[in-house]
Assembly symmetry: D2
Homo-oligomer: 336 residues x 4
Amino acid sequence: MINIGLIGYGYWGPNLARNFNSNDRVDLSVICDFSEARLKAAAKLYPSVRLTNNAEELFENNSLDAIAIATPVSTHFELAKRALLSGKNVWVEKPITDKVEQAIELIELSEKLNKVIMVDHTFIYTGAVRKIKEIIDKGDLGDLIYYDSTRINLGLFQQDVDVIWDLASHDIAIMDYFMPFKKTAVSATGTDYYGNDIVPKSLLTVYMENNTVGHINVSWLSPVKIRQTLIGGTAKMILYDDNDPSEKIKIYDKGVKLSPTREELYHIKVQYRVGDMYAPRIENIEALALETDHFADCILHNETPITSAKFGLEVVKVLVASKESLKLRGAPIEIN
Amino acid sequence: MINIGLIGYGYWGPNLARNFNSNDRVDLSVICDFSEARLKAAAKLYPSVRLTNNAEELFENNSLDAIAIATPVSTHFELAKRALLSGKNVWVEKPITDKVEQAIELIELSEKLNKVIMVDHTFIYTGAVRKIKEIIDKGDLGDLIYYDSTRINLGLFQQDVDVIWDLASHDIAIMDYFMPFKKTAVSATGTDYYGNDIVPKSLLTVYMENNTVGHINVSWLSPVKIRQTLIGGTAKMILYDDNDPSEKIKIYDKGVKLSPTREELYHIKVQYRVGDMYAPRIENIEALALETDHFADCILHNETPITSAKFGLEVVKVLVASKESLKLRGAPIEIN
Amino acid sequence: MINIGLIGYGYWGPNLARNFNSNDRVDLSVICDFSEARLKAAAKLYPSVRLTNNAEELFENNSLDAIAIATPVSTHFELAKRALLSGKNVWVEKPITDKVEQAIELIELSEKLNKVIMVDHTFIYTGAVRKIKEIIDKGDLGDLIYYDSTRINLGLFQQDVDVIWDLASHDIAIMDYFMPFKKTAVSATGTDYYGNDIVPKSLLTVYMENNTVGHINVSWLSPVKIRQTLIGGTAKMILYDDNDPSEKIKIYDKGVKLSPTREELYHIKVQYRVGDMYAPRIENIEALALETDHFADCILHNETPITSAKFGLEVVKVLVASKESLKLRGAPIEIN
Amino acid sequence: MINIGLIGYGYWGPNLARNFNSNDRVDLSVICDFSEARLKAAAKLYPSVRLTNNAEELFENNSLDAIAIATPVSTHFELAKRALLSGKNVWVEKPITDKVEQAIELIELSEKLNKVIMVDHTFIYTGAVRKIKEIIDKGDLGDLIYYDSTRINLGLFQQDVDVIWDLASHDIAIMDYFMPFKKTAVSATGTDYYGNDIVPKSLLTVYMENNTVGHINVSWLSPVKIRQTLIGGTAKMILYDDNDPSEKIKIYDKGVKLSPTREELYHIKVQYRVGDMYAPRIENIEALALETDHFADCILHNETPITSAKFGLEVVKVLVASKESLKLRGAPIEIN
């Protein structure tokens, strides 16, 4: 049984608590938050869990095997470092840190101390993303050519980071999971409509080796919620619509053709789409439940999580470069 | 009655012919194409129209009031110039030219000769775009903040220009119609996946005065056809989905709020959308029919078309800048 | 505080338990089920709730104010009667009973004993249904003409009742809530494809006074889930699509016109739809939470629930008649 | 070359004219309509076709090989009979006649005179219906169990027949094409909301041999256009959505299971759908073009059309029975 403590019971923490609580191999022992109201809410649902507003208490608690950190990104580094140094395994919300050097330091520290750090890139554990990964790994799509995602939301969710940090971080992780290619440069555009240095709507392009590209459109200023991702291969292409309850993944029997003939071009013009389509059934398991299981496995068997600190570092590199490019109205920033 | 001659009976020309033929004030007299097969197809449908493979014949024909040019963009300038100089009014496919200077020369020539040039930016004459323009002009959206469009297609349609010239030209025109703001810089990203110097998939950002921005996503490499445009205002926002047969325009009672409170942020999070939605009925008139009428009006009453050569020039400026930015992986190119 | 005991912790019971548990005015004290596995699952989530496999214990428990019955329909009558006679208020799953006479007996008993019986027709408490009711009550739709619903599902959910009892019972309740008209006759069609006397797919027509009609299509044999309801009025019509996460209700500015002219007919033909459309925002509150509140109110203030036993009786009348009509391949059965 | 004359240039006639005109083996020689305005419209598009308001002229014209009849159903019988007797092959709009006896008389007459009669059940020639037929014939669906269709429209299109004659006639034809089973009884419900003896909204059930059933929902009183057809087999099921431009046919890897276990039932409950889905590409050929070709083939090679007069008779039988059942509020009418 893994004893876990949770720091942060705000927007996402309650989901962690619920999944930790219902997992047979995990025991949620402590919840920490600075807000009395939130602790009270936790008490109603988890009467036997200890509550505190003092994070220090968790670090000092020797019965804890792991600490989950669901606090703002700017606090991740300090809390995760303290947790590792106090001998705990770590579950930390995405992105792992807001600086590249900090992520590297956490990687090194966890390796030295032989502790697990897992970054909660939840999407990687969804049925849809795992199914697409499975299809890609079988080679069905041929060579991967592009990733293209529109992830737009209503309203402003964050006031301390750009929308790229909030929403594109999902796509950067998913893209890296599907196309683990070396990234070469990042271009990001958008403006701070409110004059507050926060960019709430952006286009992001990630140039990668092999002449492959990722295009990501994120926004907090949309009246509707759209979650559409295209993955283009030389043999087939996938449309992944996360809003579609019954057909999240559609696989089209049509790849990116390198040299279509004039007749093919004409034929394409008059068709709405080309090739048959196939929509596999997706397993209906909550991603966090699976992720909790995976975290337990990694701790118990001393394995590296799929969404390891190294995986998280790749995401941070792109995020940091995008911030710089944004200021330069899209000028490309090299990634090495 | 306006006597019109048509040069080019390839992909788009037949649509022009059909609309010219069914308009009460227009008489389609001549069709010119270099392909015998196409002329034969035209003969079947328009037995009384004169056919030729010699464009010169049209310029020399004094009974013609106007010439419509539906040929590849690289030929527009020469053909339009010849048509103007031979005393004809001109209908030319979009974009008007492939060089800024050429568009300017056509503008000056048409003014000097007092002839109409209309650029066939067909979308401007659709019921949906006209309805949105009407809503914007009434002030319903408040101040316009952003334009965001996804226009992705299947297959490769052109082999001589980038996808931005083919597809984003529609959006640049529509955006300019809705938001006639001064453009300051353009950033465009993408790669030539085929190594043939043609970029078939791109993100385009147009920076405009007043801290407003246009974001455009175009592609020939999508397995599905998507046509989704968002127009964001401070009072309301519009979703224009050109694929939706019954509800092309949705107006959301929700604007871009400049400073939401923390409570509003929380409330937003748990809702799929905020505010009521209203979908006005769209008139079901073929855009080209209306455009043909408008062209006739402009000639008969000596008026300037909505999609004038000057309107077309604005589009060319962005297209030309995007080409340069593409080569620099998104570096911003100033527009003056 | 209302002390409540729950009988039945199978498919629906856990939802009741969760809502009772999180309601400030309700105290879930006992859960009863004959299955040890289910009681164990309940224990994990509600460690302080008493568990039993003996329903008798609840009737004898004088500290209980109410008993909720979430068991198969054939057991409702006996359990509800026992609960009333033991001085408890009653929450019972829909349909209230499987015989008309039994529903009448429960109505009379509850009146005599001055206890609340509420039938859990959950849909009546959803944001969408309440919003439509509000629109109807304002008179926006004009005179109501028809109700038309398609409610089709995957797979077989029940093995003891026809699909009409399982799924159409929702529509009969919703229709009665919107159009509380006297019903005159019922026609139901379908066959027992499995030869087991259970009809898993049916069309149901309810003839009502004022020449109004309800048409209901229900099925367990559909590969997809469809929940589409139309409500037709002389002034406007509503499309209520319960699967649509963002636009559940669409109100069309078009009524059932009694005598269209020939020109109107032609115009209608070429349009996809007529009139503007308006989609109001729907409150995102869980129906069961609201219903639990309503139940508490009715007990505390001695009021009659919206979904009273009398309301439930109307549903049973149609269900019973439909069973008879089914056997006669659609022959109409009078309702009085 | 087949010389054809067309009687009726109202709603549907122009579509026939266009397809006859563009077919290489057909020569549209004469168009007949009693309306001068319609003949004038025809003259604009077909300057070389002879126009007349006298149908007699066509019967007497010995150069005609065939006559197409696109007039109201009540006139079909007399016109078709005259055409056959004058030695012409016949294309007649659906339904072939409004009386069973008349359809039988036309069948006998055409056989005696060795002339083709084809009923224009256009849907049978669409890419979607032909693709489904192909899938069924391969046995992919297993045994066919049910047909279920919702075909609802806006507004009133006809003032002389019930909606079942107008819209359900499509479904009866499609169902008979897919499931050519002996029909045993028909139940139809609905009311004449306008008190004019015309029923504009109906449910129709067709009982067939082998315990199979067809359920059809038709309406002219819907604010939206819906075209959803389900075909249920023991091995797979199809959803055919004629409004969907890109995925008209979806084939679900799930059949009607005769005896699901309790575990399967529970699993089904929590899933939106079961089994993978496959959407084949549909050929994008206009149905009328194909049908015109088929008509030409039948005449030239003396073959029986797919939508022969006998095929049309099956449809008329159901229509006539439905009219009787409607008056009896759904009471079943036997078909023999």
